[in-house]
Structures are given as structure tokens and as C-alpha cells.
């Protein structure tokens, strides 16, 4: 199947700082592609760049950026606005700040459908109530008349998801959709997204820092560090054979229930993420890496650990390292 979203060599700069440095990825229909990394690695900027919602002054360049084969780079803003919230929708991280506090849930949800599809208020209201019920909200009619501040964090996040689904999107970009939620509600929302994906075949680009979520929902994982995708592989393969030292470090940092040794320290990655300015060469992770040598300051080879498993490091793939 041809991909829904194609990103090739995407670069985003804010003045002299490079936030995204040449990343490439694809999302196919029905696929969940997880973009994982820590604060400041460029994962949210990537999603905003795809939606053309970057702050003024940001420079976006790419060899290719396409939705269902249609080029987005040269698309005028009017045409982009017709796609956004329609065939490609986004769920933002903070439901507190991305819902308008001055309008009811109903008026914000129906606006999307009236605007994009020219639906009547009655049809749009029916659709909104239907979607609120599908995301597990009881008494949707009552909720439509409420303002965001009258809803709990979990309910607001579900409203955001329902709103993103108003126009039957084919591609959904979700930026940390469950980070602000309790674990119990998080599990409910992720099940809901998986169900919608199965029923509607939508492609999902899921941005998260939580490796537990990645393991449970992703089809494919791309690990971002300092603006680059340093490793990308199918989920089971990435967890079984992480080949980039950063991916390995991240996996060691996560406390796993039932496998806890309280007297032993957790694995951790010393140091902090560097700021990447103009003229930076070599591997951005080298100052925090146990395996770095002089060559890492010059260039980073792009290697393959399998047919669909790529990583940026001079070291041999993990499978070869353990065999040796």
C-alpha cells in the first residue's frame, strides 16, 4: 500500500539552531509509527512542521513532504488549511491550552465539520455526540453544552481525540496524547485509539517519550536524538536488538515492574542533550556515549541491522555484537 505520509530529509531551523536535522519517515494506512525521544529532541517540531504550524521565523525544508502522494511543501496555506483537521488531524499534548476556554465543547467540535464539510449545525451536533460516545464519554448531549473548565483532564483529552476524528481523518498525528493522564485513563484512551485504527484504518504518527506505550502500540519505532532519527525498526526488532547506544541507554533507564532490584541503581545516561548550531559535524550523542572515539567527531555512518532496521552509528549491529 502506498504511504499516507512521506517525509524525506526534513530540516527545521530556528535562527542558527537546528531543531530537526534531516529526518525521513513514512506512515502507511493502519500503521502506528512511534516517534520516541526526550524533551528537546525535535519530535514535536517535526509534527508541527508536517502540519505547517511552525512558529514564524522557523525555516522548514525537505526533499519531499507528501500526504497521499500530494506534495505539501509547495501547497498554498489556503489549501493546507483545507487538509488540516480534515483528512489529516492532530491531537495536541495539552488539552487545557488547546481547547478554547470561551466556547462550549459542542461549538468547538461542530465548527470543524461545518467548516470543512459544510455540514448543518444539526448534522454536526449529531456527529459530535456520536463521537463523544465512541471515545467513552457518557451523557454526550450534556457534555456538548459544557465549557472546557467543567471537564476533568481525562475528559478534555477524550474531547480532543473526538474532535480530531470529526472529519474522518486518514492520518492522525498525536503528540503525547496521554502524558497528562492517570495510568488507568491512559490505558483506556490507547485501547480506544487502537480500536478506531482497526475500524477506520487510519494511520497514526504517535509522538511519545514513554517506551511502555511504544512497546504496546507501535508497529514501527523511530528514535530521535538531537534532531535526528538515530534508529528506526519494527517494534519487536527494536526492543530485541537495539543497535544505537542511545536506544540501549533509554531502555536501561526504564524501571520495569516485577524486575526491580531496589539495591541496584537504575541505568542512566549521564550528561545532557547538546545544542546543535551551524557547522556541527559527527555524532550528537558522542559526549554521552561509552563507545565514542575520535572518528565519532568527524562523521556518522548510516548502517543497516536488517532489511527494515536502520541506525546511525559506527558500531556493528547489536545482533552481531552479542554473537561475537
Amino acid at each position: 500500500m502506498s504511504p499516507l505520509l512521506e517525509i524525506e530529509n526534513l530540516r527545521v531551523e530556528f535562527g542558527r539552531t537546528s531543531a530537526v536535522r534531516g529526518i525521513s519517515l513514512k506512515v502507511a494506512p493502519g500503521e502506528t509509527h512511534c516517534l520516541v525521544g526526550e524533551s528537546g529532541c525535535g519530535k514535536s517540531v517535526t509534527s508541527l512542521a508536517v502540519m505547517n504550524l511552525l512558529a514564524r521565523g522557523a525555516q522548514r525544508r525537505a526533499d519531499r513532504l507528501a500526504f497521499k502522494g500530494e506534495d505539501l511543501l509547495g501547497l498554498p496555506e489556503r489549501a493546507m488549511a483545507r487538509l488540516r483537521g480534515n483528512a489529516m488531524a492532530m491531537i495536541f499534548q495539552e488539552p487545557m491550552t488547546s481547547l478554547n476556554p470561551a466556547y462550549t465543547i459542542g461549538s468547538q467540535m461542530t465548527e470543524v465539520l461545518r467548516r470543512h464539510k459544510g455540514a448543518s449545525q444539526r448534522v454536526a451536533t449529531e456527529r459530535a455526540a456520536d463521537l463523544l460516545a465512541r471515545v467513552g464519554i457518557t451523557a454526550p448531549g450534556m457534555r456538548l453544552g459544557q465549557f472546557p473548565h467543567q471537564l476533568s483532564g481525562g475528559l478534555r483529552q477524550r474531547v480532543m481525540i473526538a474532535m480530531a476524528l470529526m472529519c474522518d481523518p486518514q492520518l492522525l498525528i498525536a503528540d503525547e496524547p496521554t502524558t497528562a493522564l492517570d495510568v488507568t485513563v491512559q490505558a483506556q484512551i490507547l485501547r480506544l485509539l487502537a480500536g478506531l485504527q482497526r475500524d477506520l484504518g487510519l494511520g497514526l504518527l504517535l509522538i511519545t517519550h514513554d517506551l511502555g506505550i511504544v512497546a504496546r502500540v507501535a508497529t514501527r519505532v523511530s528514535v530521535m536524538y538531537a534532531g535526528e532519527i538515530v534508529e528506526s525498526a519494527p517494534t519487536a526488532e527494536l526492543f530485541a536488538n537495539p543497535s544505537h547506544p542511545y536506544t540501549q541507554g533509554l531502555l536501561r533507564c526504564v524501571p520495569v515492574p516485577g524486575k526491580v532490584r531496589r539495591d541496584e541503581p537504575l541505568g542512566s545516561i549521564p550528561g545532557t542533550v547538546p545544542r546543535i548550531g551551524a557547522g556541527f559535524t559527527g555524532c550528537a550523542f558522542r559526549d554521552r556515549c561509552d563507545f565514542a572515539d575520535a572518528s565519532c567527531a568527524v562523521a556518522v555512518p548510516h548502517q543497516r541491522a536488517g532489511a527494515t532496521h536502520d541506525y546511525l552509528c559506527r558500531l556493528a549491529p547489536q545482533s552481531a555484537r552479542t554473537a561475537a
Binding site: L190, P255, P257
Partner: protein, 310 residues
């Protein structure tokens, strides 16, 4: 036997809101022995942060008593209390004065005591900064010039500069990235071992609590519904709510999918307490009596569960 580090006796706390009184902490009792770590878990609104504030003496209970090293917190002088018990809060972005240099932030508790000379303050601040892994150069910076992990190190240094016996950690790593979270958890564990500290450790992250705590209390709508040693509680949870919480933890194991927690959509509302067992509207195994009669505590070693079916 010496007095427990923290002793909470039948504490009640309610808040007045526009919609009536909200019960935040409802008849809670527990004790933490000196050198122990009690992890407190539960969803937002369960009363765990109110519990922290009651223990720190920042809030007064409506009834009941909080004792720290055998003394009632309510009757204690502020300065004496500060020498005994200190907090580390969740958000290092809002809990540090943005206009003060790191050195001055860490020195503040010493200055407030009014009994330390300038040389002694300088020496202790340098010692603490080094202890939490910050260079002397960092001491001259402003909070905005630090990363999230460095800021949390500053907050820990400030909490320890008076050499307290007890530290209340309220979601100390929730705002941090996983790699930084691991650094801070390791630091807290090391400090506890070296300085013989007692921790009350509040977190919504069960994996983190399992890693740091020797005992765990599970809170639901203002009550501790289950309590036990960490190993027993994680291996053999008895309360259906504890089971649901544990089931919703997403471990990094591919292929398992997202579990069905089975709690339904009825979210807890502290302003509208259900009769009987307060968990029954969400409980997957509730019976008729759960809706009318409060369940007793079924005791077992180091704790027990408040459930008719446990």
C-alpha cells in the same frame, strides 16, 4: 523502640468548594519507621498531595494528628520543623525563585534559621551542591539557565542543607525525561543510604514506586485502601483497585498490547462520595453489599486491604 519517623493518626481533611465540601483525606492512619520509604500511589484527586502537605505542616488536619519523630507537627515551631522535615516537589520550574542564583536558593533555609554565620552557610552550600552532583560554577547560575534535571538537583540540595531526618517527595521525577528520572532516583536512593533519611515518596508511576519504596500505600478517594510491603503488594495485590492500577502499567514489552483495565467510565468525584465502598461504582467484582456497607480492613502482615472480597 524509638518513635516512628512519621506517624499519622486518624487524620481528616476536607476543603470547602463552590459545590460543597470535598473530602481530601478521610480517616487515614499509618506510620513510617526511621530509615523507611513509604510509597504512596493513586490517581489524581485521591488526596496524596494533601497528605504530603499535612505531614509537612503546611496544612492543619480537621481532626487527628500528625507526629514527626514523636512530636506533633501542629505544635512545632516553624524553624524546628524545617530542621526535621523538608519537601521536594514535582515541578522544578515553579518551585525555584527565577530571580535568585542557585547558591542563594540552596542557602535560603540556612539564612532563614538566623543562627548560621556566613562562612558556615557558604561551606554547607558548597558541600551540598557537590553532594547532588552540581559544580561550583552552577551555583552562580539562575534556574532558567539549568536543565530540568539540574533544577531538581537544586531542589534536593535545598531540602537537605539543614540536614533534615525526613524528606517528603511529591512526584519528584514526574516532570523529567526517563534518562534524567533515572539519575534523580539513583541520587535519592544514594542520599537516603548515606544520610539515613526517611522518605514519604508520592508518585503516580507504580514502576518508580516499586523501585524506591520498601512499603506502599494505595490511596483512593481520600482513604488508604491497601497497604503492604512493596514486594507483597506488587506480587499479590488484594484490592481490586490495586489490581487495576497494576494492570494499567505499560511495561516495555512488545507484543502484549494495551490491557483492558475494566474500570469503566465512572470517574471518582471527591465532592460526591458514593455510599458503602467508595470504589464500588468502578469495581469490576462489586457485590450488592459493597454499595451499602463500608468494607472492613482485612489485615495481613504490614498492612491489608479495605475490601469485602479481599
Amino acid at each position: 523502640m524509638s518513635a516512628p519517623a512519621i506517624e499519622v493518626l486518624q487524620v481528616h481533611k476536607t476543603f470547602a468548594t463552590g459545590g460543597g465540601r470535598v473530602v481530601a483525606v478521610d480517616d487515614v492512619s499509618f506510620a513510617i519507621p526511621a530509615g523507611g520509604v513509604l510509597g504512596v500511589v493513586g490517581e489524581s484527586g485521591c488526596g496524596k498531595s494533601t497528605m504530603a502537605r499535612l505531614i509537612l505542616g503546611l496544612l492543619a488536619p480537621d481532626s487527628g494528628e500528625v507526629k514527626v519523630e514523636g512530636q506533633a507537627v501542629s505544635g512545632m515551631d516553624r524553624k524546628a520543623r524545617a530542621r526535621l522535615i523538608q519537601p521536594v516537589f514535582q515541578d522544578p520550574f515553579s518551585s525555584l525563585n527565577p530571580l535568585a542564583r542557585v547558591k542563594d536558593i540552596v542557602a535560603m533555609p540556612l539564612v532563614a534559621q538566623g543562627t548560621f554565620g556566613r562562612a558556615e552557610i557558604g561551606r554547607r552550600v558548597d558541600e551540598l551542591l557537590a553532594r547532588v552532583g552540581l559544580s561550583a560554577e552552577m551555583g552562580r547560575r539562575l534556574p532558567a539557565e539549568l536543565s530540568g534535571g539540574q533544577r531538581q538537583r537544586v531542589a534536593i540540595a535545598r531540602a537537605l542543607v539543614l540536614r533534615p531526618r525526613i524528606v517528603v517527595c511529591d512526584e519528584p521525577t514526574s516532570a523529567l525525561d526517563v534518562s534524567v528520572q533515572a539519575q534523580i532516583l539513583n541520587l535519592l536512593a544514594e542520599l537516603r543510604r548515606d544520610l539515613g533519611l526517611t522518605y514519604l515518596f508520592i508518585s503516580h508511576n507504580l514502576a518508580v514506586v516499586e523501585h524506591v519504596a520498601s512499603e506502599v500505600a494505595v490511596m483512593y478517594l481520600g482513604r488508604i485502601v491497601e497497604r503492604g510491603s512493596t514486594d507483597a503488594l506488587f506480587a499479590r495485590p488484594e484490592h481490586p483497585y490495586t489490581k487495576a492500577l497494576l494492570a494499567s502499567v505499560l511495561t516495555p514489552e512488545p507484543g502484549l498490547g494495551v490491557p483492558d483495565v475494566g474500570l469503566g467510565d465512572a470517574l471518582p468525584d471527591p465532592a460526591n462520595m458514593p455510599p458503602g465502598c467508595r470504589f464500588h461504582p468502578r469495581c469490576p467484582v462489586a457485590e450488592a453489599r459493597c454499595a451499602s456497607e463500608s468494607p472492613p480492613l482485612r489485615k495481613r502482615a504490614n498492612g491489608g486491604a479495605e475490601c469485602w472480597l479481599a
